[in-house]
Amino acid sequence: MAGTHTHALFVHGDSELHRLPASPKLGALGLFVLAVVLTPREAIGAFGVHAGLVLLGAWIAGLKPMFMARRLLIEIPFVLFAIFLPFVGGGERIEVVGLSLSIEGLWGGWNIVAKATLGLAASVVLTATTTVPDILSGLDRLRVPRLITSIAGFMVRYLDVIAGEMHRMRMAMLSRGHNPRWIWQLKAYTASAGALFIRSYERGERVYYAMTARGFTGRIPTFDEKARPADWARALSLPAIAWFAAGWGVVAG
């Protein structure tokens, strides 16, 4: 139960990418994804360049292809509908092994699958080389509002605690003979959701007391190292190539 989720995505290592501060990595990821999104779907060559860049990143980080493939599996439910586009799309059609497919639908499906896969794969490289605390302070350095990064940080920190409380409440219900098999027995769950809310609220109050007890006055300090211009230069070299590829795709197409 005691979770491992903060490190669930992180892969221990000592690569160049692991050592790079989080903020340039986040900046590079954002710019890369933007370049991918703006690439015209017909610019197959540009997509090849993007894929090459992701593979290069994975290689620098020492991530194995099987690992990347497994992480990409979560994409499947989100792109499933793209598979249907060639069947339901309108316009000109072509025959492929006896199936009549819409050309417009094929392009649409390709566009979604290719862009989603590239974006996700790039994110996998980031999360595998950066811990959650570092990502949060990196976002903070990129001037994401402190309120948002703080809330995200507390969520990560207390997910386990609250899940543990929920688990204990469930066990308490089960051991007093509650056996939720039918939909109308959900009533006990809604009641316990209320109790869980109160408990979490009280927890929040106590955490706030603990924070003020150590001199908190509304601003959470940050501690990560500041990125140097050289870090930014190295991190941004990858999305720079992606932007060239995308631009060339636009001009050529």
Partner: protein
């Protein structure tokens, strides 16, 4: 006589719902003392602790820390002087990593760079937890989390450390390790507990609190040996435990 590290004078408080919790509580602690605050559940011990650094304000009475009264104008300095270790380390440790959590207090007081780093290292070394500095708190055992919680207040270099039930829910080994750490710290300490053997082991002096008042104050061994006093305040020693043989 030196200035008391902590002086509580005629403290009274009731919660907004009307529950009267503190009634004219008074005591003081001198620098270097380790004092136990004993009392049954609901005696008002935790409520008292919240008054010591101004999280709650007294209706009547006063709290003074090393000569400085707990008032709005002094709050920041008071909170540096009084280090509170809360009962549940999950309330106390809220930052993503142990290192950041220990740095949180001193950073709020403007410390940064190498100076901050030194504080954090010293505090974590004092509780033997330097090796977990970069782990997230929820990956640690309860005993480890409690030690880190102690480090978070040590890093503020307080005048007095107040611990709310430090031994609760610990297994015997963690309980013993924590005791060794607490006795090794040369710091003024108020330890709230109903773990009586622990109080005897760690604190030469004890206060007994019941229904919001301090009703006894003396050497811990004498207090624990006073059967009538103990019984009247729902304080029970473990079976077969004799305070006169224990230490």
């Amino acid at each position: 006589m030196s200035i008391p590290a902590l002086e509580v004078e005629g403290l009274s408080y009731h919660y907004p719902d009307g529950t009267e919790v503190l009634r004219d509580a008074s005591f003081h602690i001198h620098p270097g003392e380790r004092v136990a605050l004993l009392g049954p559940n609901g005696a008002g011990k935790t409520t008292l602790v919240f008054h010591l650094n101004g999280i709650f304000r007294p209706e009547r009475g006063s709290v003074t820390v090393a000569g400085l009264p707990v008032e709005d104008a002094n709050l920041m300095e008071i909170r540096r002087r009084v280090g509170i270790v809360f009962q549940d380390p999950d309330d106390q440790l809220f930052m993503p990593t142990v290192r950041q959590d220990v740095a949180f207090g001193p950073a709020n007081y403007g410390l940064e760079g190498d100076e901050l780093e030194e504080r954090v290292t010293a505090a974590l070394s004092a509780v033997g937890m330097l090796n977990v500095a970069d782990r997230p708190p929820h990956h640690l055992s309860l005993g480890q989390r409690r030690r880190v919680a102690v480090a978070t207040v040590l890093a503020m270099r307080p005048e007095i450390v107040v611990l709310d039930e430090p031994s609760s829910n610990l297994d015997p080994a963690s309980r013993r390790e924590l005791a060794a750490i607490l006795t090794s710290l040369e710091i003024t300490m108020l330890m709230v507990t109903h773990d009586l053997p622990y109080a005897l082991e760690l604190c030469p002096r004890a206060l007994v609190m019941n229904e919001g008042s301090i009703i006894a104050d003396g050497p811990t061994k004498e207090i624990l040996s006073d059967r009538d006093l103990m019984k009247a305040n729902r304080l029970e020693l473990p079976m077969g435990f004799d305070p006169n043989l224990a230490s």
